[in-house]
Amino acid sequence: MSQVEAIVLFLLVVIGMTPMVASFVQFLFVGFHSLRNHYGSCRDYTPRVAFILPAWNEGDVIASSIDSLMSLSYPAGAWRIYVVDDASTDHTPAILRDKMQQYPGSVFHLRREVGGQGKAHTLNHGLSVVLADDWAEAVMIMDADVLFEPTTLRRMARHLADPNVGAVTAYVKEGSYPGGLINRCVAFEYITAQAAARRAQNVFGVLACLAGGAQLHSRANLVAIGGAIDTTTLAEDTYTTFKTQLSGRQAVFDGNAVVWAEEPDSVAALWKQRLRWARGNLQLTSAFRNLWFRPDIHPGLGSAAFGVLWFSIMLTPVCMIMTTIGLTGLQLLNPAWAWACFGVVQRAGVIVFLFETLFSFLIDPATARRAWFEGFTFPGLISLAFMIVFFVPRHVFPFLDAFMAVDPHGWTSFDVLRQCMYAWITLCMLAAWGVCRLEKAGVHPWLRNILMVCVGYGPLMCAISFSALATQWRKTELQWDKTVKTGKARMLT
């Protein structure tokens, strides 16, 4: 019986490693983007582009966004800006009036008198206007706070010369200035989640998400997917990505086309934003339930590799809990087995951490200079300390034995510490949730930052994923709730 239990527990540990392995494999393909990319099919193509900016009380950011768009390096008169004012109650309409006077014929103000239904509804209002006449050959869907580098549109548009491409997305970089700890964590995360992961997805020929901050669609693609954005999920950008690819067109990421955006600088605001994203992805998983692991429906989205990648990201917190259960169970059956399994998990973890961190720094050296500390402390100082302890246990445990008086049932500091290590794989998520609660309770930002660095940004993301799974399971209502932008974004070039 104990053998069966041991095998089950061992399998829990192995399955628990899936997200780490999937992430590593995805990273291995990033470099191959130099050999397999879409640049060979690019042409000097500059279609007429309509920018659609959904704006609800964006008075602090909309002017700089429009100014950055009007500084694009693109043929004169070949782009227009449609700001869809979602019944703003701040000074957004006044700013738009000024900008229409400053850039006559280029900036248009579309006002919705009844708003608050969310970004997708607002975008659809703009799309209905833009697609009603045949001026626009392509449509850029973006956020109101996003700043475009002068060459970004030209870099994105060149891919649409290939009629097989339906949509192109850019690399959205965190540009808050002055930025705080959370901003820099997001900046580093975006290297891994966008600049790296989406290059690998280009190599695979399937894209998981066109960034909502900058997605350029051909007119033909928008018409093919129904001329409107889905309003039934909270992940309208990912939904559009899937629809684009299911309609037979390619979605492409251009990592050299860069836009800048302001991201949240508090744990609570980040939690709210990411919970919405994660809930949206869960809704989408359900909406496309007939697609998963069905290559006959779509060779990319339905492939086993994409399915494993998609679900391993979504179920990372479940995998972490499985690892803890597996290791703790093995510890009760046979501590030596548990330690051996943990050894495999730790060694793999160190390799993946070192490789992904170092390579991320190479992918985006400018962001690495700004956020190297956040990169190195991504798993949290506590997890890093456990990694170090694992590799030099014989130096650490005698030292601990001298200070820890725990030996009531024959447990040494070694037993206690390794049980702590097994438990931390799950408890780090609880600790991250605790940091969020403490911040909401009003702890000083510097204390919040210290706790955040100790617990880690990675565990925070996993905690949010767990919260999304729990709230989705309970069918808790979640309304569209936009992230507040304050106008801190700059092009940090």
Binding site: G31, S34, L35, Y39, D44, S73, I351, F355
Partner: protein, 48 residues
């Protein structure tokens, strides 16, 4: 930028250089990790 290069060609050439740098960068990052793994194994071996 050579005088005959258009903006399109200049950007494409620059972006291809970036992608090539990533290819070699990945190899270097892998080599660093492999070296650190070997060093760790050696360290553990000699420590025992």
């Amino acid at each position: 930028m050579t005088p005959s290069q258009t903006e399109f060609e200049r950007l494409l050439a620059a972006d291809r250089r970036v992608e090539r740098r990533l290819f070699w960068g990945e190899l270097i990052a892998l080599a660093c990790v492999a070296a650190s793994v070997l060093w760790t194994l050696g360290f553990l071996h000699f420590r025992v």
